[in-house]
């Protein structure tokens, strides 16, 4: 041990909190133009060895950013001993970027062997006989982008095809139960992606988002939710394409667009924002940083981004929500809310499932209401799918490799037209499908598929070829449907909600001639086609018409007899309703406003300035009602002058 280093340890040692199980002293030999300088930082941990690279989102770890009240300033110790003296002794051993130099336990400073300091990141060794992958950290690599980071660990774990993963303790890594739980969760997320393009990348980022959300909830008890949003825009090198923004909120769902209250005049935000909505700029920093450590990779997220966005747009224009993490007791719950906005991102055909064991199982599998009977029958005949379906019926959302296998079988061969993130399941069956068929071959490949029989809602991405199929006998809602689907429409008697694509006036006449015996809710863009549609035999049975991209509150004469009339915007990339939705009741006495979908205009200011005044012109009573994505508070209603 050298003299300066000994003095440095003597100065710093007493400043390290005694409740920290271990600490890392990380040093860098910076070679600035003005001359060499020693820089360093201290990292505390409740593990035997702190994580390296440090991760502010891990509850076991603390640094001067995420726990400023706990972490001593190494700079002061360097200054007291003398940076030049330390550099003279240690300089040749140090890297130009920050790297662990010494491990501290029980007040004892142990210099880390050079081989461990220069070591690579994670390694994964597969034992095929045991169906086990062992993941270990080979050493502390210099720099925060080092391969030992959380992203690399999660990517290895999510990509491992073995049944089991073991995190191996080494001199550089002391795994915890929290690590093992995170590994299990990221593997489940990856499995739930059903092999989607970019699915593994998304799983890794989502797990990092969950970690970050847990850390935020721990630091700030007032927060109840976080939102991960993604955007795609480019620099001219096309090497910086997808971007992430994260928000936090005291609500169960953050407002979107984020109403930033950052004080640009003072260039600081000392106190929590009064509106309870936080971002990287307007969050307080008194209990640690806000910035999420993950980023959005192009491969994982471009399908979910607005196309053609740019840096000059407001956040609400260029970003779209992808995931929400909420408090759920002592745990958190993750909801994926991003939708594929681009054609061309489909799951892929996949492998055909194993055939059902007998004719009775095959028949039951086609009935969405017979899942419990199917599960019992499969259990009786010893088919493992019975247990999976029974578990899903009992416990709701399941994410593991076995469930993924079951689901992959449930969608075959529809993966050819199902867009990424566009398959939703219930009771072990596919019930919601977001689709895009690019070619006639795609259509032919899925025509008449048994997997359609349990689908209850179907959404097209714009530009898709027609896919409606008599096999979709459970279909209750479809959109946006063009005249190419007319023949199939007549064979779908359960259809109750239909969004029409009317490209020319003759289309409306053809839709009006179609038999839709159970249609109750019609969604249509613009008011031009209403007169023709109003001649349809099914028109009198309608309970609701939603008009898209018509001025809020302009009530066309053709809708005079329709019990509920609603207005919303149209998301042109998804061909579905978005923005604030104002619905006028059958007595024209009350207008209810809800969120149809996140949009640049879905601000509380937008409500106050545009939607509520329009609603008040139509009805004496205006109410703000809860909807997925927006739960109004008493404060919202008071601020907007609405009744509770």
């Amino acid at each position: 041990m050298t003299a300066a280093w000994t003095r440095f340890a003597a100065v710093l040692g007493p400043q390290i909190p005694t409740d920290a199980r271990s600490a890392l002293v990380a040093l860098a030999h910076r070679r600035w133009r003005e001359g060499p300088r020693l820089e360093g930082a201290l990292y505390l941990s409740s593990r035997a060895v702190p994580l390296w690279p440090h991760d502010c989102d891990q509850p076991t770890e603390a640094c001067r950013t995420c726990a400023p009240e706990r972490v001593a300033a190494v700079e002061r110790a360097i200054a007291e001993v003398g940076g030049a003296a330390l550099l003279a002794e240690l300089g040749d051993e140090l890297e130009p970027t920050e790297a662990p130099y010494a491990l501290v336990r029980d007040g004892v400073f142990v210099v880390i062997p050079r081989a461990e300091r220069a070591g690579a990141g994670w390694t994964c060794t597969v034992d095929p006989a045991a169906d086990l992958a062992r993941i270990a950290l080979a050493g502390f690599a210099p720099g925060f982008g080092a391969g030992g980071g959380r992203h690399a660990l999660y990517a290895l774990a999510a990509g491992a095809t073995t049944a089991r993963i073991e995190l191996v303790a080494t001199a550089c890594f002391d795994p915890t139960d929290g690590d093992r739980a995170a590994i299990a969760h990221v593997r489940a997320l990856a499995a739930a992606a059903l092999g989607e393009p970019g699915g593994l990348e998304r799983a890794v980022r989502l797990q990092q988002c969950v970690d970050w959300s847990r850390a935020m909830f721990a630091r700030y008890p007032e927060l109840r939710s976080t939102m991960m949003c993604v955007a795609q825009y480019w620099n001219d090198n096309a090497d910086d394409e997808c971007h992430a923004e994260s928000y936090a909120s005291v609500r169960d769902t953050p407002l979107f667009p984020h109403p930033c209250t950052y004080d640009w005049d003072r260039d600081e935000q000392a106190a929590p924002p009064e509106n309870g909505e936080w971002c990287d700029r307007c969050s307080p920093r008194d209990r640690g940083g806000f910035g999420a450590s993950w980023y959005a990779s192009t491969e994982g997220f471009e399908a979910f981004c607005v196309e053609g966005a740019n840096q000059d747009q407001e956040d609400g224009e260029r970003h779209r929500p992808f995931a929400i993490v909420r408090r759920a007791g002592d745990d958190v719950a993750l909801e994926l809310v991003g939708r594929c906005r681009r054609p061309g991102f489909v799951l892929g055909a996949g492998a055909a499932p194993a055939p059902w064991p007998d004719a009775r199982a095959a028949a039951l599998a086609e009935e969405v209401d017979a899942r419990a009977v199917l599960a019992d029958h499969l259990l009786d005949v010893g088919d493992p799918r019975g247990e999976l379906i029974a578990r899903e019926l009992a416990g709701g959302e399941l994410r593991d490799a076995a469930t993924a296998t079951l689901r992959a079988g449930a969608i075959h061969p529809l993966g050819r037209v199902l867009v990424v993130g566009g398959a939703r399941f219930a009771r072990g069956a596919l019930v919601h499908a977001e689709v895009h068929a690019a070619t006639a071959d795609d259509v032919a490949a899925v025509r008449g598929a048994a997997a359609w029989r349990t689908v209850e809602t179907l959404r097209y991405l714009p530009g898709s070829r027609a896919l409606l199929d008599p096999a979709m006998r459970a279909l209750r809602e479809a959109g946006e449907v063009g005249v190419d689907d007319l023949a199939a429409l007549a064979a779908l008697p359960a259809l109750a909600t239909l969004q029409l694509a009317i490209a020319k006036p003759a289309d409306a006449t053809r839709f009006a001639a179609c038999a839709l015996p159970r249609l109750r809710h019609l969604v249509v863009t613009g008011a031009d086609a209403l007169a023709a549609l109003a001649r349809a035999p099914w028109w009198p049975q309608l309970e609701r018409v939603t008009l898209l991209d018509e001025p809020y509150g302009a009530l066309p004469a053709a809708l005079a007899e329709i019990p509920i009339v609603a207005w919303a915007l149209r998301d042109d990339e998804l061909a579905r309703p978005t923005g604030w939705c104002a619905a006028l009741d059958r007595r024209r006495a009350r207008a209810e406003i809800a969120l149809a979908g996140w949009h640049a205009s879905t601000t509380l200011d937008g409500l106050a300035e545009l939607v509520i005044p329009a609603a008040r012109r139509l009805a004496p009573a205006v109410a703000l009602v809860a909807s997925p994505g927006f739960a109004p508070t008493a404060d919202d209603r008071a601020r907007l002058g609405l009744d509770t």
């Binding site: 795609q232 825009y233 480019w234 620099n235 001219d236 090198n237 096309a238 090497d239 394409e241 192009t298 471009e302 196309e307 053609g308 740019n310 840096q311 000059d312 681009r342 061309g344």
Partner: protein
């Protein structure tokens, strides 16, 4: 005249190429599109005139590197390239490599944060006789940020070794590749250069424009609107 693949950046290569080729111009092959199998053969069979730019690769979203970090050498075969960003390891070495290699690519005028991102840097490049691709939207950012004087812009406009002119619009803050309007900075000069025989490359985002609007962009760029 050429239309850059970056006009439909992010789209699958072949679909973007085919849509842009319908405008009746050549296509500049740029990085940032999703690869589609057989793209190189598709381009070759199309008969459409092409130029290659920066990190374009027919089988990947982009080439892994354009400048070698250690030697500063250009490691792609594109006709024109961006010089390195300021934080690129090659930033310190590329100029020496470039000056020493006669068979070198055209380098594009950039904006602050890149080499050739200021009027002073461009003045040195012109003094040394480098062949340039002038991006008028980048020049606008330089002008807006005070990185290029009016005299430096005038000198660039008069420079005789300009091998490509790139056009798109922005607000002077970010390189946002927005559609052209009549008074887009540098557009009149770009048209004049094009009329005198310099290849013109339209590189504004066309994702949300229909065929008519795309044709108007083409015509606006070359001055035939």
């Amino acid at each position: 005249m050429y239309v850059a693949m970056s006009c439909l950046q992010g789209r699958p290569m072949q679909a973007a190429f085919d849509e842009l080729a319908r405008l009746g111009c050549g296509v500049q092959l740029t990085p940032g599109n999703r690869p589609t199998p057989g793209f190189a053969a598709h381009v070759a069979a199309s008969g459409v005139a092409t130029r290659t730019h920066h990190g374009f690769a027919p089988d990947a979203r982009r080439a892994p590197a354009v400048w070698d970090a250690a030697t500063g050498a250009c490691v792609v075969a594109s006709a024109s390239v961006h010089p390195p960003e300021d934080d690129d390891p090659a930033r310190a070495t590329w100029e020496a490599w470039y000056a020493a290699h006669p068979a070198r690519p055209i380098v594009e005028t950039m904006y602050p944060g890149y080499a050739l991102g200021t009027g002073d840097a461009l003045a040195r490049a012109m003094r040394d006789g480098w062949t340039l691709a002038v991006d008028v939207s980048h020049a606008f950012i330089q002008r807006t940020r005070g990185a290029m004087t009016a005299a430096q812009w005038a000198a660039l406009c008069d420079y005789d070794r300009i091998a490509e002119v790139h056009v798109s619009a922005n607000r002077g803050t970010h390189d946002t590749h927005q559609p052209l309007v009549d008074d887009t900075f540098g557009l009149a000069w770009a048209r004049a250069r094009h009329a005198a025989g310099t290849p013109l490359v339209l590189e504004c985002y066309l994702h949300h424009l229909d065929d008519d609007a795309r044709r108007r962009q083409r015509d606006l760029a070359r001055g035939s609107a």
